[in-house]
Symmetry: C2
Subunit: 216 residues, 2 copies
């Protein structure tokens, strides 16, 4: 059992509890469908139940936690169908972002994408799937960021948070990095060419591929 967290003076209790719990779920420290008892969490994080409650309500509307009236909270499990539906939404939203990024990114930012692409190629060549997965994640984050589309960014971050468990499963599949790499390079190429239409199309076909892989 993890040691009780420090009182964390400046930080308000609710935000503390919220951050701790979200991290714990995202890091996969909570088993899927595990029950989240307010009392236990309160003791574990060193805050009162009211703060835990507030945090749980917030996590519920982020889609990370499931709450049933008078029955308590659990870590939400995302079925494969849901993961597919989520990825379909990612597909169009990231497509939007890629198109805007192709129009509005600075030359400096385009160089960052190029560097990321090279790092990803190297990771695949060296057979390091974990490094590749991290870079993958970062590439998508950068494209979102460069689009300047704040609303889409927030929606996508929420959606991505719900997929943590499926991401692992996908990254370690043999042969997957190779296929994924060329799609990613095409995305980078289209954005660097400042071709919004091609950029959107590249992102969409990449995520269509992810959907196929999710379905096995």
């Amino acid at each position: 059992m993890p040691k009780e967290a420090r009182p964390s003076t400046g930080e308000q209790a609710r935000q503390h509890a919220l951050a701790q719990l979200r991290q714990a779920i995202l890091r996969g420290e909570m088993a899927p469908a595990q029950r989240l008892v307010e009392n236990e969490l309160a003791e574990q994080f060193g805050v009162t139940r009211a703060s835990v409650r507030a945090a749980l309500i917030e996590l519920e509307s982020e889609g990370l936690v499931e709450r049933i009236r008078n029955r308590g909270s659990r870590v939400r499990v995302v079925t494969v169908e849901e993961a597919v539906a989520i990825t379909e939404c990612r597909m169009v939203l990231e497509g939007l972002c890629a198109g805007k990024a192709a129009r509005e990114a600075s030359d400096e930012q385009l160089d960052q994408l190029l560097a990321l692409g090279e790092a990803m190629s190297k990771a695949v060549a060296d057979g390091e799937p974990v490094t590749y997965s991290d870079l993958n994640h970062e590439l998508h984050a950068r494209i979102r960021e460069f689009s300047g589309q704040q609303v889409a960014v927030e929606l996508l971050e929420r959606l991505n948070a719900q997929l943590v468990r499926h991401r692992f499963q996908l990254a370690l599949r043999p042969g997957r990095p190779q296929k994924s790499l060329s799609e990613h390079l095409a995305m980078i190429e289209a954005i660097r060419a400042r071709d919004p239409r091609a950029a959107e199309e590249a992102v969409r076909s990449h995520l269509a591929g992810v959907i196929d892989a999710l379905r096995e």
Copy 2:
């Protein structure tokens, strides 16, 4: 000042407060940027502050309310730029839904769309912009529903809720219904033709038109 709501026995207090508050905001009974004091709301709705607090936290993550630490809550005001960004997201998400609806809707559902289109034409011919606006809203809702894409539906409902104030402004603009009507009819046509690509394109160009109108 509105009379205190009934205790609403079965319903739990938090859900009661949440529903009341959300309705009040969506109906425009709360002035934009109006301060929401927890005590006042608690008394007004006949629940305790804790329930109001919980409701406010939830409404914050729905984007209807803005909360600042130790400073309280206000009704969130959506700037024109934000409304544009939101509508861009609607554009791609509703495009996704239209494509899926074109594939998966039943013949019966397609007939509903046709009937809606006729009603909309009539409303424009009769010069009834309010009726037209309602039908407009219903058409979009039906398309979402027929797609069977639950994740997209939830995202879109959240986004739409944030636009209430801008919707009014747009619907009453002279000449707007005429332009909007033909775009809507094209959407219906494409879905009824079971042409996903055309359906997506029709929805996107319609909402691109809405974006132009928003920018004036």
